[in-house]
Amino acid sequence: MKWEVVVGIETHTQLSTASKIFSSASTAFGAVPNSHASAVDIALPGVLPVLNKGAVERAIRFGLAVGGTINRRSVFARKNYFYPDLPKGYQISQYEIPVVQGGSIAIVSPTRGAFRVALTRAHLEEDAGKSLHEAFDSPGGLGRGMTGIDFNRAGTPLLEIVSEPDLRSSEEAVAYAKTLHSLVKWIGICDGNMQEGSFRCDANVSVRLAGDAKLGTRCEIKNLNSFRFMQQAIEFEVRRQIELIEDGGTMVQETRLYDPDRNETRSMRSKEDAQDYRYFPDPDLPPLVIDGTWIEQVRAEMPELPESMAHRFVGDYGVPITDAVQLTASREIARYFESTVQAPVGVHLSGKTAANWILGEITARLNRDGIEIEQAPVRPHEFAQLLARFQDNTIAGSIAKAVLDRMWNSEIGGEADAIIAAKGLRQISDSGAIEKLVDDVLAANPAIVAEYQAGKAKAFNSLVGKAMAATKGKANPAQVNAILKRKLAG
């Protein structure tokens, strides 16, 4: 491959505090315009910022989760620029000394397998307000042709997480973003709601000839608010850059915006205009000092992290690593899995089977119904009972799926054993009965038997199907197979 893609991601993670980073106004989404914009949030003359401890605590939690350094002393700086949704004319952010430095996130690349993406830093900052462009087209209205500004979001705490340019494809970028997304939800610092803007990614994209040590000129694509858009935007941008360079053009470092309707990125000239942010330490905010006691306190309250939990699932329950990674995509899935395998159902449930069923049957039903696993109508102990009956051969897999459907749809939340008994779904494993069944099937289908004997292997499956159908799926399929094979060879 001639060209190598280089991607680094900057993510604005909205921290799940009740109040804003520098004011006590609510961070709730969707309020009446400017009703959550306090004097500090609209930057009235004379008001001052006071830092929210909850935001710092969440930053520490993140730093510990990624194995980064929590700076004992970090500094808030002002980033100065004019924009109508930026009330003070500057954003309070961290510049030279961020709260978290370094750390890494383990991801699984579709092409390169598992590796760790290094993080440059994570810093605390405040969000801006929102510009509403379309709100004022009412004829004759005062604001016709104007933009309306809502400062409700201004001052919402953000943790900006910056990765090193370690990613080599759009797929890797998405794998990183997804892993990060599940991690920040896992440790409870962000609700992860991408529609509401709680997790927003910017991608720094460049290309270089394979083997080059020097990075190419990069473009920053702003506002990627879905994983699909991220992938499309990066792919478009990579093509654009390669074409430009191959045509003898020169890359310009710039900020670009992805337009999902046209599936293209375009230059944001307005943001480019004389970028000189004039950073300097905010004189209103002395240095943020975080002592070791606080860090240890936060560490003690940290949940088990997905990475170590995945390894534990492999060791404790014999789950394949790829399944374990998927089971630890969220704390809720992991909890569902672990509650299932630990449920007291009399038999030792196979972790591998449980994982299979959760990632297959359960996930499919969740997706179909558009619900989260914590809303699944079948609770882990009920599900465990069903798996136990499958494992001890009381029912076959196809029957188990049917029972799961009944349990899923039952308003009262059915018990697997009760449904199996009531509907007579017990598996037929009596070999005498199966011998008789197979004889009947062979006798009734001479044409298929003939096909089989003429060398058509598929005919065998057809005969198995007939046998299963005759018992409404209750016959033990392994026994049917064995007996049928023996008799045909006969």
Binding site: P45, N80, Y90, P283
Partner: protein, 491 residues
């Protein structure tokens, strides 16, 4: 009555020899008569003041009064006062009504003080003559062709002309002490962090300090007692145990009340271009300190000469950022005609700000801009530390540092307006204590040949307010400079 100090008025009010209604009413009459001449007030709130006076009288009658209850007060117009216009002396905020009150305004109101109005000032507290006010210069009560100093010129002139017994101010590079000196009153700048900046329209956040004007050091102490305190809304407000800043004033110290006090005389402050009359008056005052028992010691502040350039990098830098919020979006002036958003910003700010404010925003923007930050801003912050270290070392050898407040007495309106450097040099002796965050007071110590008042500056180490107030108070007990009233404003 009109010329009495806060302490004297307090005794009369508490003894009910005088009511706040009477006092406030007669001062409002005086303000209304004098203001067309002095231009010291931008807003006079007769109605509000009279109702506060009534409440104060009720509180006195109920026996729940503080020593400040019922005393009329004026606030510099950079201090937010809920429901009152707060302009900062700028066209930008010409019609801005404060939707909340500053911490210091809240504190003084809670003590029962009566706010009669808002005083004129250099626009956004940038200036040393009050000529930078959008609403015209304040005139000096001692000579109305002269400036009153700045930026808190309105407060200084109001106290000098005995329109109010006390007024608030803010001091970023000398904006309380220099106008106090030029107007012949006391002006106290406390330690940075002792009084909350909440509700002060920011000029330079790391230097801005709210403070007070009064006739006497004792009055300054009384007001500071009410204004000081921790405020959770200002992250630079200090959480320290409350102290009585007047505690040393009532101690009976005999004939040598300043015995044991070491007065530091920085070599750099003498022969540094102060007018001869000023140098003479300061020397006389120093002799006075000695006769009160103080010893003098020469100290050196080798980096203090750089105070002015350090200030003119740091202060405009912070100001350029602090004043970015005045963009015509949420409040304040907005240009009537513009092509687009950027044009609206540019015209709004070109029209809303005066020449000096624009100059400082430009200096500040330049020194912070790409490629210049290290050379200017970072360098200035390093030299700032060298200056602070000089003072720290000096305070190992002395308790207070004494010298002139200002190199000149009041100058004529228009004289310095075209030469920023000449204007900036007014603050050559005052800037250092803003850079170091330490307290200082200016008190009257004589008059020059033209009959204009001279100010003496007493500086102290951080939290030495009680001590500098005591030194000033003992001096005032043996002199009457602070008792003089400008001829045109004698009752």
């Amino acid at each position: 009555m009109i010329t009495s100090s806060v302490a004297e008025l307090s005794r009369s009010l508490l003894a009910r020899r005088l009511s706040s209604i009477e006092l406030t009413g007669s001062l409002l009459d005086r303000i209304e008569t004098a203001n067309p001449t002095l231009n010291a007030f931008l807003t006079i709130d007769r109605e509000g003041a009279m109702s506060q006076a009534k409440a104060a009288d009720a509180r006195i009658a109920a026996g729940t009064a503080s020593p400040l209850t019922g005393i009329p007060l004026a606030h510099k117009d950079v201090i937010m006062t809920e429901g009152l216009r707060t302009t900062c002396g700028s066209r930008m905020l010409e019609n801005f009504v404060a939707p909340y009150s500053a911490f210091v305004a809240e504190r003084l109101a809670r003590a029962g003080m009566v706010t009669v109005g808002k005083t004129n000032m250099d626009e956004f507290a940038m200036g040393s003559s009050n000529e930078n006010s959008y609403f015209g210069p304040v005139r000096n009560p001692w000579n109305t062709t002269c400036v009153a100093g700045g930026s808190s010129g309105g407060s200084a002139a109001a106290v000098a002309a005995r329109l109010v017994p006390a007024a608030t101010g803010t001091d970023t590079g000398g904006s309380i002490r220099q106008p106090a000196a030029l107007s012949g009153v006391c002006g106290l700048k406390p330690t940075y962090g002792v009084c909350s900046r909440y509700g002060l329209v920011a000029l330079a956040s790391s230097l801005d300090t709210p403070g007070v004007f009064g006739q006497t050091a004792e009055d300054c102490a009384l007001l500071l007692n009410a204004m000081a305190g921790h405020d959770a809304r200002d992250s630079t407000s200090l959480d320290r145990p409350a102290e009585d800043y007047a505690r040393q004033l009532s101690e009976n110290a005999g004939a040598k009340p300043l015995a044991g006090v070491r007065v530091g005389l920085p070599r750099e402050y003498f022969g540094a271009g102060a007018e001869p009359d000023i140098v003479d008056a300061i020397e006389t005052a120093i002799a006075g300190f000695r006769s009160l028992g103080a010893t003098t010691v020469e100290v050196s502040l080798p980096n203090v000469d750089h105070s002015l350039p350090v200030y003119y990098v740091i202060s405009p830098a912070e100001a350029s950022s602090n004043l970015a919020r005045f963009d015509g979006v949420r409040y304040g002036h907005r240009a009537a005609k513009y092509d687009d958003l950027t044009d609206m910003y540019k015209k709004t700010r070109a029209e809303g700000f005066g020449a000096e404010v624009k100059r400082r925003i430009l200096i500040g923007t330049y020194v912070l801009s790409h490629g210049y930050y290290d050379a200017y801003y970072l360098k200035a912050q390093q030299v700032r530390r060298l200056i602070a270290d000089d003072f720290r070392k000096a305070y190992q050898r002395c308790d207070v540092i004494v010298g002139p407040t200002s190199p000149t007495t009041a100058f004529c309106i228009g004289d310095n307006i075209d030469d920023p450097l000449k204007m900036y040099l007014n603050d050559i002796f005052t800037i250092a204590s803003n850079l170091t965050g330490t307290p200082a007071i200016s008190i009257p110590c004589g008059f020059d040949g033209k009959g204009l008042p001279i100010g003496l500056q007493i500086q102290g180490n951080a939290f030495a307010e009680a001590q500098i107030l005591n030194v000033a108070h003992r001096y005032q007990q043996t002199t009457d400079w602070h008792r003089r009233v400008p001829a045109g404003f004698a009752p």
